[in-house]
């Protein structure tokens, strides 16, 4: 199964990310679990870290027990090996150039049972540094002490959880912890592959553009190259090793308008490998463009009049809006014990209800490796809870049909669908992988613009709004498109009113055929794929934020070069 997949992704092989896998079929893995997880495949046994983890896990499983306290019913170890290079430059000069290599060991011990267990407060695991040497004694010693601490904390956590729950009458109609099929998977190790000098130079050159854009107050560039290898074992018989790499780069620029308003731009690039990032000439050209548009933004007129009418979002800005308003709300995050809502998100009670127009569907598919030739950083084989990733349709024809789930069940959803993700050392939580917005009968962005103008005309408006990029919840690059001749005018100082889930459901009237692949480096890498979208009505108004003071005195003069 993995072997076929492997052939699909030649780029991974080039990067040494080949998934030379030993994924046992589920049937065999289950059989192995039945044998008390002592027998492991040759692939697991051949990795010194997995082997040490497995040995200590088996010892803990067999022997860990305090007087008058239940033995653990589940134990997991996750070691995350992180190799990272960060560099930062400002005004053409490097300010940071740092390599770090570290390993974390996260140990979760659960007492109780799947129905009700100790995964609560201090029972949510213990994190320690793990040795960088593959020395089995050193690794096992860290795991030994962490397991001991986690077990003791788990027993106390279960007691406090029971005490808390005794205040509520309702019985929880789902388990605390979802069962998951054991599996074995040994992927290739990932390492950082790049030579630092050209990248440092690229940062310096791009940020040196301040010399020709003297009205820009601040120009800096940042990059983070990160390779993560994760090792996971649990007492259900799962043993996995997998790695991923994320290469990200960013340029940040800030300045002030003559009235003191602060404006900034921070375009970023996130890829699976260094050679997919923009090469120096492209990065420089992008930086130049960033500074030019920033200056234009600083000089742009303020939005003075309130506007209520059609607004078109580019694929870039739409991907931010849908990631926030749909993506974050389809995460199956369970509320605190005793709370009856299904999830913590706004779609808590929208299951089987319409949340988007009927021409839109959303799927999260971490198993997808590329989209229109572009590699997706949100791809993964197995999540951080040892569950195989799966493609999950969450919104079908506008109707919410599923949530993204880890191993913490929520009402009506008893099982994980492989979306329990976490950065090394962190507890897994339901997270996006490749979040894909699909549209029936899409149209081109040009047609959307025509449609926008048409709608404005009908409403007797002189212009409509076009959002190119977002800054958090509000527009960053916002244009007026004039009905008279279609010309575009950049404006600043606007905020949206009521850009929310309700507006998405009721006012999203058309979408483009221009899906943008937006790779993002968060605590776990994700990809959002989303086209342009058109709203028939949205409120755009002037920000009420106070302007900052302009600098008290001018920037230092440049020395001639």
């Amino acid at each position: 199964m993995i072997a076929t997949r492997r052939r699909k992704f030649p780029l991974r092989m080039i990067l040494g990310l080949t998934l030379a896998a030993g994924l046992a079929s589920e049937a065999t893995a289950q059989e192995k679990a039945a044998q008390a997880s002592t027998a492991v495949s040759a692939a697991v046994a051949s990795d010194p870290i997995l082997k040490a983890m497995r040995e200590e896990l088996d010892r803990s499983k067999a022997q860990l027990k305090m007087d008058k306290v239940a033995a653990p019913y589940y134990i997991e170890y996750r070691i995350g090996d992180v190799e990272e290079w960060t560099a930062e430059a400002a005004f053409g000069a490097l300010r940071q150039d740092q390599k770090v290599h570290g390993r974390s060991a996260r140990v979760v011990v659960r007492v109780g049972d799947y129905k009700q267990d100790s995964y609560y407060g201090p029972g949510m695991g213990v994190v320690e540094f793990a040795p960088l040497d593959n020395d089995p004694v050193a690794i096992r010693r860290e795991l030994w002490l962490a397991t001991d601490a986690a077990y003791k904390a788990a027993s106390e956590a279960l007691a406090s959880k029971k005490a808390l729950l005794s205040q509520f009458t309702a019985d929880q109609p789902f388990d605390d912890f979802a069962k998951a099929a054991p599996l074995e998977y040994v992927g290739s190790l990932v390492k950082l592959e790049f030579s630092p000098e050209p990248w440092k130079e690229s940062l310096e050159k791009a940020t040196n553009l301040y010399r020709s854009n003297l009205k820009i107050q601040s120009v800096s560039g940042f990059l983070r190259f990160r390779a993560v290898n994760e090792y996971f074992v649990n007492t259900e018989g799962t043993s996995t090793r997998q790695g991923y790499a994320v290469y990200s780069m960013q340029i940040s620029a800030e300045t002030q308008s003559p009235d003191g308003m602060k404006v900034g731009r921070t375009p970023f690039f996130v890829e699976n490998s260094a050679n997919e990032l923009p090469p120096p000439a492209k990065f420089l050209a992008d930086a130049e463009k960033t500074l030019t548009t920033l200056q234009a933004l600083a000089d742009a007129p303020m939005v003075e009049e309130d506007y209520r009418g059609p607004v078109l979002f580019s694929n870039d800005s739409a991907s931010d809006v849908l990631e926030t308003l749909v993506g974050q709300n389809v995460l199956g995050i369970r509320p605190k014990p005793g709370e009856s809502a299904r999830t913590t998100g706004e779609y808590s009670s929208n299951y089987k209800g319409r949340v988007l127009p009927t021409f839109m569907s959303v799927v999260d598919d971490p198993t997808l490796q590329t989209f229109e030739g572009r590699r997706l950083v949100g791809s993964y084989e197995i999540d951080q809870e040892g569950v195989k990733a799966s493609s999950v349709p969450v919104v079908t024809d506008g109707i919410l049909v599923n949530y993204l789930l880890g191993r913490m069940p929520i009402r009506d959803f008893p099982e994980s669908n492989g979306h329990g993700r976490a950065a090394p050392g962190q507890p897994p939580v339901p997270s996006l992988g490749n979040f894909i917005v699909k549209v029936k009968e899409p149209v081109s962005e040009d047609e959307l613009k025509k449609k926008l103008i048409e709608m404005c005309k009908q409403e007797g408006k002189p212009y409509g709004y076009y959002v190119e990029t977002m800054a958090g919840e509000n527009p960053r690059l916002l244009y007026r498109i004039y009905v008279s001749d279609g010309h575009e005018e950049l404006v600043r100082g606007a905020v949206f009113n009521e850009l929310d889930t309700r507006t998405l459901r009721n006012n999203l009237v058309a979408a483009g055929n221009d899906p943008l692949v937006s790779n993002r480096a968060g605590s776990v890498p994700t990809t959002v794929i989303c086209p342009s979208v058109l709203f028939d009505e949205l409120e755009v108004k002037r920000t009420d934020r106070k302007n900052a003071k302009l600098p008290e005195y001018p920037a230092p003069a440049l020395t001639p070069q």
Binding site: D67, A90, P131, L145, Y151
Partner: protein
Amino acid sequence: MRRFRSRAAVCISLLLSLIPLGAFSSSATPDVVLATMQRELKRAGTSLAKTDPAPYFMSYAVSDIDGTIIVASNGGVIFSTSVLRRQGDVMMHVGSLALDNTHNQSRASGIVSGTLPLVNDTDATARVLWQLTDREYEQASAAFAKVKTSTAVQADEEDKSPDFSTEAPLTHTDATQFPPFTGQKAWEERTRKISSIFLKYPEVYTSVVVFTATADRSYLATSEGTALVRPSAMVRLVIQAETRADDGTELMRVESFQAATADQLPGDAELEAKVAKMSADLKDLRAAPSAEPYAGPAMLSGRAAAVFFHEVLGHRLEGHRQRDENEGQTFTKKVNQLVLPAFLSVTDDPTMKELNGVKLAGYYDYDDEGVPAQRVVAVENGVLKNFLMSRMPIKGFSHSNGHGRRQPGLMATGRQGNLIVTSTNMVKDSELRQKFIEEIKKQGKPYGLYFDDIQGGFTLTQRATPQAFQVLPVMVYRVYADGRPDELVRGVDIVGTPLLSLNNIMVTGDMLQVFNGVCGAESGQVPVAAAAPAMLFSTIEVQKRRRGTERPPILPPPGVGTPAPQASGAQGGKS
């Protein structure tokens, strides 16, 4: 709360969070950095002079930090990295000497920090300094407006001293370039090796070996004209081992070594012996009886007495505490009064490089406000004479005496350097024990307590809290009057109030012992030393230490055949 400790390794996560990120690729020529600082400072001074309120004092401080840190645990390296970073601090006083933005609780408004280019790029460096200066002016001028309002509406303060002192400008440039540390691989091997020795001792549950090598260069330019460039280099090796007694008491031993260069650190044989001793101590401590609350005669070793004085007296001599109205001000009004037994004197002398052949960690030539370090006689023959002064004046003491210290990013306050306690009522160390036993007998006690080693401690100087101190002794023995062998006890804390305790000192030994460590307080972590002779106290009060709640590990260590000492049946409750 202030801590005096040699415990750099207390918490690895803390330790790692302290590692600044950054890296150099330059061979820094000091004058480029200093010249850029001075030029930009001058420009800022001229430009901001036109503002209202205007700054009357500004300074730029730049710290080049070139450090290596290696951490090994249980025979494996868990962290190893080198860090290069150049930090810039912009400090500003807006208003006037009499009243400015740094007044009282608004002191933090006097500083902003940022990261400067690693390379000596004049234009980029100047631009970052300009940005920081603008931010600092915005912060300081806003703070000054608030200070003016609150002083107008609040009751008069007791100490009406100005907020800042004037000091003579000076120029001192030390161009010494310490060679970059090259021993990273070798020290990874070495720390791994030292750490693996602990694996031989199953009573030691966990251990950490931390090696740090730093070569720093600090630059200071002030609007008064002071220009300082000072290089410094230090290596430090800290070995820490921990275990837990059956009742949950956490037990720890720490050894630390510091030197100018790595090759001056102790050799393998000495370190191996230290590890063996630490492990043996921990084994003994696990088996030792728990101490009972006690008040009676006690003897402190020189090192223990040094820590005791640092905590109990030293922190209360720090100048700024005498005017902060939240402070207890134990000694504020006791100048020229007897505060210690007349046979004791206390000086703080940062100019002293070593004592009895031991290098002193609190040595420096200029303080962090650019004032020359001075030997300060704080207590002379028991009489309080002086405080440890930064540039924040207090009633009766209007100038700095070179004790304004800080870590980059924080405002300086009066701090200790090398605190040295001397005595005229001395007996030979060997006779001190005899006097101790006589005192135990005289007081009719079955035993006295001998404090051989004190890990560190903390002291509360604020008014809102009891004026108490607590030191954390680790090796404490009962010394019996009837000649029985000394008996190690565990879980002892010395408690008490400063004035009372200090006056219970009866007589001292004749040898000064040195404790080198790192002291943390409002102005950050600074290296310090304290030195004192062994001391006999007529009374010291001890309490049982609050103990951990956890039993020792349930399973024996992995890969070790012999089971760990088993826990007794009772499960430790929450204390």
